[in-house]
């Protein structure tokens, strides 16, 4: 079920009613969440429901085992089992086909014709997201950061939490702390949730889906496009990806608020980043902070005697994993390495360790010229990275890049009046997000006059319904 669809609305109305009709009863609320989450997941992919349940049971058991055992060695072994199991699931479902195909191709390259071919492994929806929840659970217990949950329903609802299971954000085990006591309906939080959902919907439907049409058309026939069209499509793709993914995250967080549950923040206005390190602190935050805590910091500690180069190695490995987390394609590996290497100058100059702070002019709330330039350069680097991300193969990427470096880059890009609403929405989005840059999400307008607020809501709703693009599947469903 996609959030912006009638089935989901009906589903959520039922869930919301049941959840809040049991006030003061934590257990009942958690049961509602659990059943709703399994229904939600089953609706999307009923064949994979057993996998979700069995892996949840397995990790629940491992978690208790780690906590109960007095023996240090057993504890470590059980933790390793958990981590290997989680990664094993990911490798099997996401990467095995790729390895088999590449192995077969390599053999053929050596002249060894073979019949090896991958079998049709279907990737379970959301596996990249819920396995990370499971793995962080056992690791946090092992490090003494978290006590295992006694109640299976609480744990299972955390793992399968329906607003987040398909595309994140990836919450840590401490999320379960919210499930122990009964949740009491909070009107202000719920209304704030609705605002965030509205904003997410606007971004996804008006900006992302419309840009997708332009971008897909261009990628569908790269060699026929002028250099300037290719550049415009690259820029639009960055905005499409942001609007799609952050739009989905906003909706997921907003739905959480309607249930008075706090979900991890996933985006912090990434286009205002002053350098690549700053960008990655603002983009897909729940994933990057997960990898920072469980991969980057341990590696950093291990390589600490190698000074800056130790840190560089740690970040390159970390970013490589960010890349291939997305899937089994050489383009994702290149994407990861590309971003890892971009950290090198930041680490060597010490900029990596410093917090990037935006300075604005005194009289006008606009970034100073130096910061505008930094934002622009960072944006260019990000767009190039997103091209790598978007390409289906390294060959296709090469074709695209070669296409940009043509003489007709100095020309009018392909434009069509149907994209005007999307372009206007894009400019509005950037303006609104700039103004809200210190807020949790862009539409925290509770302090505005009530009539102004309603004008904004109605404008957004009307725009969303009038200018919705051809629905495109949420990009991050495929990961």
């Amino acid at each position: 079920m996609v959030f912006n669809s009638l089935p989901f609305v009906l589903f959520f109305v039922v869930v919301f009613t049941l959840y809040w009709s049991a006030p003061g009863r934590a257990k009942l609320q958690n049961w509602v969440l659990l059943l709703a989450s399994y229904f939600f997941y089953g609706y999307a992919s009923w064949k994979m429901l057993p996998l979700l349940l069995v892996s949840t049971i397995a990790f629940y058991a491992i978690g208790r085992g780690i906590y109960r055992t007095e023996n240090e060695k057993t504890s470590s072994r059980m933790t390793s089992l958990g981590v290997v199991l989680g990664i094993g699931l990911l490798v099997y479902f996401k990467y095995l086909n790729f390895f088999i195909d590449e192995f077969s191709r390599m053999l053929a390259g050596f002249g060894l014709e073979n019949n090896i071919h991958s079998f049709g492994i279907i990737m379970p929806l959301g596996i990249s997201f819920f396995t990370f929840r499971l793995i962080s659970y056992v690791l946090d217990i092992h490090h003494g950061k978290y006590k295992p949950t006694e109640d299976f329903v609480t744990f299972a609802s955390y793992v399968a939490f329906f607003p987040c299971i398909l595309s994140g954000p990836i919450d840590r085990p401490k999320f379960m702390g919210q499930l122990t006591a009964a949740r009491i309906f909070d009107y202000d939080t719920a209304v704030d949730g609705c605002r965030q959902i509205l904003w997410g919907l606007f971004k996804k439907v008006v900006i992302a889906d419309n840009c997708a049409t332009y971008v897909d058309t261009v990628w569908g026939d790269v060699s026929a496009q002028s250099g300037s069209t290719l550049v415009l499509a690259a820029v639009l793709y960055s905005f499409q990806l942001y609007a799609d993914f952050s739009g989905y995250s906003d909706m997921a967080i907003g739905i959480g608020k309607l249930l008075n549950l706090k979900v991890a923040k996933n985006f912090n206005y990434p286009f205002f980043a002053l350098n690549m390190a700053d960008f990655w602190r603002r983009w897909h935050m729940s994933l990057t902070s997960w990898l920072t805590d469980y991969v980057f910091m341990p590696l950093n500690i291990r390589f600490r005697d190698w000074g800056q180069w130790g840190m560089i190695l740690a970040i390159v490995i970390n970013m490589f994993l960010v890349g291939i987390w997305h899937g089994a394609n050489w383009t994702y590996a290149v994407f990861g390495l590309y971003h890892g290497l971009l950290f090198i100058p930041l680490i060597l100059t010490g900029a990596f360790q410093k917090k990037a702070k935006i300075h604005t002019y005194e009289k006008v709330d606009v970034p100073v010229l130096a910061d505008c330039i930094k934002m622009f350069l960072t944006f260019v680097l990000v767009c190039i990275g997103q091209l790598i991300f978007r390409a289906n193969s390294v060959g296709e990427l090469g074709l695209y890049l070669a296409g940009i470096c043509k003489a007709n880059i100095i020309s009018m890009p392909y434009l069509h009046y149907r994209y005007i609403p999307a372009f206007i929405a894009l400019i509005i989005m950037l303006f609104v997000e700039w103004k809200s840059r210190k807020q949790d999400h862009a539409l925290m307008i509770q302090s505005l006059n009530v009539s102004v607020r309603w004008i904004i809501y109605i404008t957004l709703l009307v725009t969303t319904f009038s200018f919705s693009g051809i629905p495109v599947s949420y990009i991050y469903f495929q990961f």
Binding site: H143, G144, T292, M297, P298, N300, I301, R302, R304, D305, M311, F352, Q353
Partner: protein, 78 residues
């Protein structure tokens, strides 16, 4: 080496690495209390402490510290 002596030397290291002469450490001090102390400068502090006391921490020890006091205990045990 007594714990107070260790505390003083570690405090000096903190002041030096984090470039802040006003830092005062107590047993209960954590990273939340000191602005410049984040996960990255944490590594620099560890390297400096290891060099100064000529010791080596294990990853498990490093990940186990909840505050300065626990860090000092580990140093004292080496």
């Amino acid at each position: 080496m007594d714990k107070n002596q260790i505390l003083e030397e570690v405090q000096e290291i903190f002041r030096d690495v984090l470039d802040n002469e006003n830092i005062v450490l107590e047993d209960a001090t954590t990273a939340d209390d000191i602005e410049e102390w984040d996960s990255l400068s944490h590594i620099q502090l560890i390297v400096a402490i290891e060099k100064h006391f000529k010791i080596k921490f294990t990853s498990k020890e490093i990940l186990s510290w909840q505050n300065v006091g626990e860090m000092l205990d580990t140093i004292a045990s080496k």
